[in-house]
């Protein structure tokens, strides 16, 4: 009985040893794939990075062009992706799911046509009381847009808010206030004088 049990123990040891040996063989097999597995993960990581950062990379690649450069060399930029930076002026005109925004830099203004969703960040539009938001528009420039009756425009793919607009204050000039009071008084004096002259002549 004891001999049987010793035999069994020896068998079990052998089998466990065999299992360990075969496990060792197996781990050695996967080990040769370890560097490849790391490469694969790296490749996936790189692909994902590219996927998420591509728009950013592209935005950096699209040249920032001024209105003057765009309008003077319209043929060169026609149909190309460009970036244009400027102040939002006037009104945002919503047309269904789309919208028109007019953007102006130092040299001139260009109409930007975009999906309504891209306008999310824009709040201030430039007028007498406001300096409009400063935005960067990335999109396709059209010298004569076939969709919009030959308008020179940009079909935006991305709009980025660079700087928020602000309220422009127009304080009263004290010198102008003084001048207006003096001039108004003079008008009254001359008006009375004219009426007197007209009556007596």
């Amino acid at each position: 009985m004891i001999a049987y049990s010793v035999e069994r123990i020896a068998d079990s040891k052998k089998s466990s040893l065999r299992a360990e040996q075969s496990e060792a063989k197996q781990s050695r097999f996967w080990d040769c794939f370890v560097p490849l597995r790391g490469g694969f993960a790296l490749a996936v990581l790189l692909a994902m990075t590219c996927f998420f950062l591509m728009p950013l990379l592209n935005a950096q690649a699209a040249p920032i062009v001024s209105a003057q450069e765009l309008l003077e060399n319209a043929e060169k930029y026609d149909g190309k992706i460009i970036s244009f930076k400027g102040e939002v002026i006037g009104d945002i005109m919503i047309r269904g799911e789309w919208a028109w925004v007019n953007v102006r830099d130092e040299a001139g203004a260009i109409g930007v046509f975009c999906p309504k969703e891209l306008l999310g960040e824009i709040e201030e539009q430039g007028d007498y009381r406001h300096k409009g938001d400063l935005i960067s528009v990335r999109g396709i420039f059209h010298r004569a847009c076939p969709q919009h009756g030959g308008d020179t425009d940009i079909h935006a793919e991305k709009i980025t808010l660079i700087q928020k607009g602000e309220v422009i204050s127009h304080p009263l000039d004290p010198q102008k206030v003084k001048a207006s009071v003096i001039l108004a008084a003079l008008v009254c004096v001359l008006g009375i004088l004219y009426l007197i002259i007209r009556k007596f002549r």
Binding site: I89, A109, Y128, A144, G150, S180, L183, Y194, R198
Partner: protein, 500 residues
């Protein structure tokens, strides 16, 4: 022997000029009201100062030159040309005070451009200009389009006898109604009706295009004012391109065409004579000219492939041509594109359209299609004469409200004015070229100024030389008044210096 004007003559001129300045000051109350309504206090102050200066000058002239004597023919001419200059100097005050103009000369340029319904502008940062100042810019066009004198005729001048010389002096030869004051009132009536209709149509179009309610109403009013008066000022720096709206463009085309019609023709249409529009020498000549020049312009644009498709060609090529031919100056392209994208043939077609202009006795400028039509008729008649026997008598007629026999006197007058306009266009071109601008661009801008159009290929800017600014101001003034009153003023100055 040149006779020096008497003190009494100067008094009459001063008295009437004073009244007109007074009227100008009162018209500034409208932008002042706008400033108050929109809470633009700084702008309101600019207009209080400007109104006061006008009233002081007007009253001072009326007191110093107090007389009850009536205007004579030559007085009227001088009053007209002098008042237009004074209107420029005084109309520029609120513009200058707003600090949106580089200097007083720039403000004077825009004031003359406004009154003469030209539309060339030196304003800086227009997109941030107050509503009050925008109202004044467009009101100047509206007043200038009817004629500053028409305002005076309807409001400030009592006798019809006094009114005739100043009515004629402002380049309006045709009396629509027997009485000049009634004619002036009819011009106002027509203008107000079309202004109302135009404002409503444009406001509705702008609102349906996504503009907020009140702003669309203001923009509708301003654009209607400038389109009807073939002026060309716009509330935004991109002109009509700002709206990105085809319907808006079509309405402005209609208003420009209506504004370019002779007021006599308007009267005939209002009186129910609809056939007149198909028979009148002006409308016939204008239609032929538009067809020919658009054909040329479109050929140039198509050959170079500037615009893709017929719709683009219409919205850009036809719009610019109508704007040029009616003397308006509204643009749906940028000035850069005229200079860099448009072929020379198309640019020349636009230049020709600007030079010819539209109806006489309308709000448009330029040589006027009536004169061009008459000269062509005379030319055809001369060609016919060479083919007929010497003894044959050829009587040539044209139809303008009634049948008119074309005689030597009429043709001579038309040819003289045409020649003077050509000299005026050449003057600006010469100055432009001598300052270093290319010939085709200098010609384009000079014709635009002289014919009171307002289309620009980029020369007109705050940075342009002072000499060119002064030349364009002179061209706008002389072109709007059609020279006669300008010559009368220059003659008086000579008489004051050299007369006995």
């Amino acid at each position: 022997m040149i006779l020096r004007p008497q003190l009494q003559d100067i008094k009459v001129i001063g008295q009437y000029s004073g009244r007109i300045i007074l009227g100008l000051g009162l018209s500034m109350l409208i932008p002042l009201l706008v400033a108050v309504c929109f809470g633009e206090t700084a702008a309101a102050l600019d207009f209080i100062i400007s109104v006061s200066i006008c009233l002081i000058m007007g009253l001072a002239l009326m007191i110093l030159c107090f007389t009850r004597k009536e205007l004579r023919w030559n007085h009227g001419m001088i009053v007209v040309s002098l008042s237009w200059l004074l209107a420029m100097f005084l109309g520029a005050v609120p513009l200058y005070l707003s600090r949106h103009w580089g200097g007083y000369l720039d403000a004077c340029f825009d004031a003359m451009s406004g009154f003469a319904t030209t539309g060339l502008a030196l304003v800086q940062d227009l997109d941030h200009l107050s509503c009050a100042h925008n109202m004044w810019r467009h009101l100047m066009m509206y007043i200038g389009g009817q004629g500053i004198m028409i305002v005076a005729l309807t409001l400030l001048v009592r006798g019809a006898g006094s009114a005739l010389p100043i009515y004629v002096g402002e380049a309006r030869e045709e009396k629509i109604l027997p009485n000049v004051v009634q004619t002036a009132r009819f011009i106002w009536l027509v203008s107000l009706v079309y202004l109302l209709m135009g404002t409503l149509a444009l406001s509705f179009s702008a609102a349906s295009g996504g503009m907020p309610g009140l702003k669309s109403l203001l923009h509708g009013l301003w654009v209607a004012m400038a389109a009807w008066d073939t002026g060309g000022f716009a509330p935004q720096s991109q002109s009509i391109l700002y709206y990105h709206n085809f319907t808006f463009e079509l309405i402005t085309i209609s208003l420009m065409l209506l504004g370019s019609l002779n007021f006599s023709l308007h009267y005939a249409l209002w009186a129910g004579k609809r056939k007149e529009i198909f028979r009148n020498i002006e409308t016939v000549s204008f239609s032929i000219s538009v067809a020919l020049l658009f054909g040329l312009s479109a050929w140039g644009l198509s050959r170079e492939g500037v615009y893709p498709g017929a719709v683009s060609l219409f919205r850009k090529g036809f719009y610019q041509l109508i704007s040029a031919h009616t003397g308006t100056g509204y643009m749906t392209i940028s000035a850069y594109q005229f200079a860099h994208n448009w072929p020379t043939l198309s640019l020349l077609s636009i230049t020709l359209a600007m030079a010819v202009g539209a109806g006489a006795c309308s709000t448009a400028g330029g040589i006027k299609i009536l004169r061009v039509g008459m000269i062509f008729r005379a030319l055809l008649s001369d060609i016919k004469k060479t083919m007929l026997p010497r003894s044959a008598v050829l009587i040539d007629k044209m139809h303008h409200i009634k049948d008119i026999v074309l005689n030597e006197k009429l043709i001579r007058q038309a040819a003289l004015i045409t020649l003077t306009y050509i000299f005026l266009y050449l003057l600006g071109t010469l100055v432009g070229v001598s300052l270093g601008y290319p010939l085709k661009l200098a010609l384009f801008e000079s014709v635009s100024a002289g014919a009171n159009v307002g289309l620009s290929c980029g020369i007109t800017s705050p940075a342009m030389p002072v000499l060119l600014k002064i030349t364009y101001i002179f061209q706008m003034w002389a072109g709007r008044l059609e020279f006669v009153s300008v010559f009368a003023l220059l003659g008086t100055i000579v008489a004051l210096v050299r007369g006995k």
